[in-house]
Amino acid sequence: MSELKHGFRINTEMCQGRMHCMRACPTRAIRVKNGKAHLISELCIDCGLCLTVCPTGAIAATTLTFAELDRFKFKVAVASPALFAQFGMSDTPESVGRALLELGFDAVWEYSVDIELIDRAIAACVKKWPGPFPLISNSCPVVVRLVQVAYPSMVEQLIPVDAPREIAARELKRRYSQELGIAAEDIAAIYITPCLAKTISILQPAEEEKSHLDGAVGISQIYNDILYKLRTGLTRENASRKFSFSGEMFHWGAPEGEFPSLSREHYLPLTGLTDIIKVFDDIEKGKLRNIEFLECHACQGGCVGGNLTVENLYVARSKNLRLVANMPRSVSKFEEEVQRRYAIEDFSLRRSLKPRKIEGETGDLRGRVLRRKKAEELLKALPMLNCGLCGAPTCKSHAEDVAASRAEIGDCIFLSPDRIVHLRALYLDHQDTK
């Protein structure tokens, strides 16, 4: 596999080494050495917690800028349903769609059909699945990466059905190149994303295939521009363009609604990494086998609570519910289109997902056992305070780092009291100069 990429960058200049990210990271992928945070790439699952907690704004998502979008001839926005829940109660999806056109997109894709298609493909897959259960949704890239890194034995339980955003990008390229006579390579499918994780799923899909999407723009990135267009009015040309959005579209972004066609007693929606980890621990022990399908979103509250959204989760969800309630449902044209495409398209994941290879798990079993024993031995000399001053989030990770030759045991301030001088120079003197 090529070098792992991530959906964010740590700006070393701006980083003050304050360790919020290191302490928040659920997979303990961050170390802070010499006052600067850095990433153990292979452990990072792109959940974006580090970006949310950074007090100095040194961690930023690597979404596309508008200038970068200009290199494409024909740009189509595929908007996460979460986008439409960000604005005022009277701002309709149609007006938000028109604002996207004003911002320079050549078209806004009607995404609800793709969501409905995947909903059906998932229901069909669950019905045919021989086991093991439960199957786990893969639309949240953080969940996929969490399983690949921390639950390797559950990788085969990630449902082998592609995400709707991918299906949408594939179809829109086919359709526009046919209708408008543009080469498919000149059409860009740009996802309007509620989280940084989906940018990485486009840059480097977990199944090691090439994404049908060409990039992502964060909701927070274009929020102000859209709001401005909504408030100052739209130009006549775009104001007259018709969009037909159906209510089905808004299920996808919120939990408990992704797969309305599955029966409630066999289907469990879960949001928030902490809860997901608890449930995955149980599954790995063989529990929850009576559940057929787990819908998991790493962000609390699902995609409407994504780390690149703007509106408060609860307000956004209320708007979302309102949109769902007010949208026309099962318009016959919508149903026709779903049936037409369902009959001819393949929705399966193009390649199977594999556990991620972690350094420290390489080498032979004997070497790995020795390293583990060494780490256990080293841990006995550490204070178990998890103070983080060594640069690792816990004493245990420090011991493991030392056993894997990634750190010196003496980085612990209890073992080398002199290190306080060094730390004072890094943190206190640093503040004096401010």
Binding site: P132, A150, P152, S153, M154, V155, E156, D281, D282, E284, K285, G286, K287, P355, I358, G360, E361, T362, D364, L365, R366, R368, V369, R372, K373
Partner: protein, 146 residues
């Protein structure tokens, strides 16, 4: 000749403590995962460990689970001070259970524990003394070295 033993860890299991049930198998899972045991074998091991732990929690006063990793296989030995199993063959039948209603209400005791452990092991053996306790041995072979 037996393969060289690389790692031996012993864990205490408290009987009747449903709050903590699953903690030992959880710990074993983390140990084996960190050792880079491949996904398919890890899955089987975790199922065996969890079922073994649950049996001790449900029926015995206390027990121990010993994890032994060699270069060729992984072994789990679970020994408890419990009522023992009078008819091991019967206990190995799918669906046979002596669980109380209370246990079933908690979602355990559907008579799949021992059969499931056997199914997921490459070697499986039960020794039991009625009134004294039970020992369960499970071996899962690792793929040969490349």
């Amino acid at each position: 000749m037996t393969a060289m033993e690389l790692l031996r860890e012993c864990y205490e299991i408290q009987g009747k403590n449903f709050d903590k049930a699953g903690e030992v198998s959880g710990e074993i899972k983390v140990v084996l995962r960190d050792l880079g045991i491949d996904a398919a074998h890890l899955r089987r091991l975790v199922i065996v460990a969890f079922e073994a732990e649950m049996n001790v929690v449900m029926y015995a006063q206390r027990g121990t689970m010993t994890l032994i990793v060699t270069e060729e296989d992984i072994n789990l030995e679970t020994t408890d001070e419990g009522p023992g199993i009078p008819d091991i063959e019967l206990a190995l039948q799918e669906g046979y259970s002596t669980a109380s209603d209370e246990m079933r209400e908690m979602g355990f005791g559907f008579g799949m524990g021992l059969p499931n452990m056997k199914k997921n092991s490459d070697e499986f053996r039960i020794e039991s003394n009625v009134g004294k306790g039970t020992s369960v041995f499970s071996k899962i072979r690792l793929p040969a070295h490349e």
